[in-house]
């Protein structure tokens, strides 16, 4: 009996001991705080380098006078660069604090800390090599502050071109998704439509949309609609293809179960076939999205009066590679944001799959 008590009490002791001993991982507040500091410190280092590292190379540092809310503010490229770095630091600081209450976000944030720190350090190194010492061939490899200078020099123009791209993308991609899902459902549901349309889709689908550009530019009333057309067809075919596949792979038993429960044909399409096809539809949308970006930028570079692709082309003519980089940075941020939004919508729509599909 005595031994039994000892045996029983032993694990209790151990667990209480464990409770007092702090776990050193993302669950620990001090650990997370340290990760936040690490993340932010990279950008602080980059700011410090920009301020305190002497400007050795002969780089002209212009003053740009910006009118902000009626105030004339004079800024240099270094001010703009520091402002962006500070914005990043504040953004990540806020993200870190926001993750405080959520286990998954804490884990993710902690995991990303080292990379984000390295990003700040890389910017600092690039700043030294690119602008401060100008070790690389000019004008091909400007420093980060020079890239930021593009936003000072061309701010409004860059914004205009960004909005132009966004408008093109929104018009083209939303039409492409609607047409793609619509035709995909028809092809998947009606064998006659499948017979006549699917082969056309299969053959034309492999042709990159930009190949049609000469026709689009001559046959459509203006270059904007021509580019919209190209984005539409690149999204359309891909999405229709996968939607049709998703509709067709609906198990017979699902239809039978629905029919016995009282579904009519319309019900079978909208409450069985389409929900079943949803994962495929989203696969189509995400891959079409990547192609739509490509088509967007290519058609802008080849025949648009605006857009980020057009801006890149124009800057290249003047050998203003820092502007090219500035446009690329905007694309990276913008397209990531769009991907992120689509990912969110997908995750919400397909929440019934959570845990079934491995990420």
């Amino acid at each position: 009996m005595n031994t039994a008590t000892v045996k029983l009490s032993a694990p209790v002791k151990e667990s209480s001991h464990e409770r007092t001993k702090a776990v050193w991982n993302y669950k620990n507040n001090a650990y997370l705080l340290l990760k936040i500091l690490l993340t932010v410190s990279g950008f602080i280092v980059a700011i410090a380098v920009n301020i305190f590292f002497p400007q050795k190379a002969a780089v002209e540092i212009k003053d740009y006078v910006l009118n902000i809310f009626g105030l004339n503010i004079s800024l240099t490229m270094n001010d703009a660069y520091i402002f962006l770095l500070a914005a990043l630091a504040v953004f990540y600081l806020a993200a870190g604090l926001r993750s405080w209450g959520d286990k998954d976000s804490r884990k993710k944030y902690s995991k990303n800390a080292a990379f984000r720190f390295a990003l700040g350090i890389a910017l600092a190194v690039w700043d030294i090599g690119g602008t401060k010492l100008q070790l690389f061939a000019q004008p091909f490899f400007p420093g980060p502050a020079q890239v930021a200078e593009a936003y000072l020099a061309d701010g409004e123009y860059v914004l205009q071109n960004t909005l132009y791209s966004l408008r093109l993308y929104a018009a083209g991609f939303s039409c492409g998704v609607l047409l793609g899902v619509g035709t995909g459902i028809l092809i998947g549901w009606f064998p006659k439509v499948y017979y006549w349309v699917f082969p056309i889709l299969k053959i034309t689908g492999v042709v990159p949309a930009v190949a049609w550009m000469p026709f689009a530019l001559t046959l459509l009333p203006n270059s904007f609609t021509a580019a919209v057309f190209l984005i539409v067809i690149c999204a359309w075919f891909q999405i229709a293809f996968l939607t049709a596949q998703g509709i067709q792979s609906t198990p017979k038993q699902s239809y039978e179960a629905a029919r016995i429960l009282g579904s009519n044909s319309a019900d079978l399409i909208f409450h069985v076939a389409i929900p079943h096809a949803m994962p495929d539809i989203f696969t189509g949308i995400t891959s079409a999205n990547a192609m739509a970006f490509t088509t967007l930028v290519m058609s802008e570079m080849l025949g648009q009066p605006g857009g980020l692709g057009y801006y890149i082309n124009q800057s290249k003519v003047w050998s203003a590679y820092y502007k090219v980089l500035a446009a690329i940075v905007i694309m990276a941020v913008l397209f990531s944001l769009i991907n992120h939004i689509i990912g969110r919508i997908q995750k919400h729509t397909l929440r019934w799959q959570e845990g079934v599909v491995k990420k």
């Binding site: 038993q253 699902s254 039978e256 179960a257 629905a258 029919r259 016995i260 429960l261 009282g262 579904s263 009519n264 019900d267 409450h271 069985v272 929900p275 079943h276 949803m278 019934w352 799959q353 959570e354 845990g355 079934v356």
Partner: protein
């Protein structure tokens, strides 16, 4: 709230893509009384599923007729509920919406919304309303399938080996649930199973089928008092009787072949 079903002279021949034919059912005659609990048992391939699908209206016979309460069966109808062997839940709907599917499809969701939770409790799934099919066990999924069929208040419930994929504890549990529902609703029950104990435990009558070609070889009246005891003397005697019938059926020479 129950129906009698009449099956007479039913033949069902499948032709596969190579043109080979399989006589899945030959000359099947069966009268099912209103409110009866009937089991179809027999080795796999003897046409149990085929017969159940014909009663459901999912399939048509080459010859012969099936009728319910005197009306010819020509297609599916929610008055005949069906529970598939497994995996027939809609994975994109949570448990509550799976169960309510029939109400929505038949435009009765508004009037009968309040009744949904009753069906969820009936099969003991309170608290799982918002779970998705992949998050629940096989036994729970079959209970959802049963509740989903029952919410349409069918006059007959057709069950195709609904417990085939379950472990024996879950199975016994679900059998009792099924009996309870049957007693409460009085629905005619037609259960396909390959488990003799299950058939004896549940049924008023057991229909024994044999394959190649699929046909009814015997119909046994189970007149044991309910509730039945799986270990009871009479229960075991009946089990032995049925087993012997099967051995006999298998030992018999089979002079009939299809060409």
């Amino acid at each position: 709230m129950s129906s009698s079903i009449n099956i007479s002279q039913v033949d069902r021949i499948y032709t596969d893509t190579d043109g080979k034919t399989v006589q899945a059912l030959k000359n099947v005659d069966l009268d099912i009384r209103a409110g009866e609990f009937i089991s179809l048992i027999g080795p796999s391939g003897c046409g149990k599923t085929t017969l159940l699908r014909l009663i459901a209206g999912l399939d048509k016979p080459q010859s012969g007729t099936l009728s319910i309460d005197g009306r010819r069966i020509t297609g599916v109808d929610p008055e005949r509920g069906y529970v598939f062997q497994q995996g027939s839940l809609f994975p994109w709907l949570d448990i509550e919406h799976n169960i309510a599917y029939g109400l929505r499809a038949r435009g009765q969701l508004k009037q009968k919304k309040a009744g949904i939770s009753e069906y969820i409790s009936m099969v003991g799934l309170d608290g799982f309303e918002k779970s998705y099919p992949h998050q629940i066990s096989g036994g729970m999924a079959q209970r959802v399938a049963i509740a989903r069929a029952l919410i349409n208040e069918p006059k007959a419930l057709l069950l195709d080996e609904p417990m085939g994929a379950l472990d024996s504890f879950t199975r016994a549990d679900l059998q009792d649930k099924l009996l309870e529902l049957w007693k409460g609703k009085g629905t005619t029950m037609i259960l396909v199973t390959h488990d003799i104990d299950e058939a004896i435990y549940l049924s008023d009558r057991i229909v024994i089928m044999t394959p190649r070609p699929g046909k009814i070889s015997r119909v046994i009246e189970v007149d044991l008092p309910r509730p039945r005891h799986r270990g009871g003397v009479e229960f075991l005697a009946m089990r032995k009787e049925i087993l012997e019938l099967f051995e006999l059926a298998q030992a018999q020479p089979q002079p009939e072949y299809n060409i």
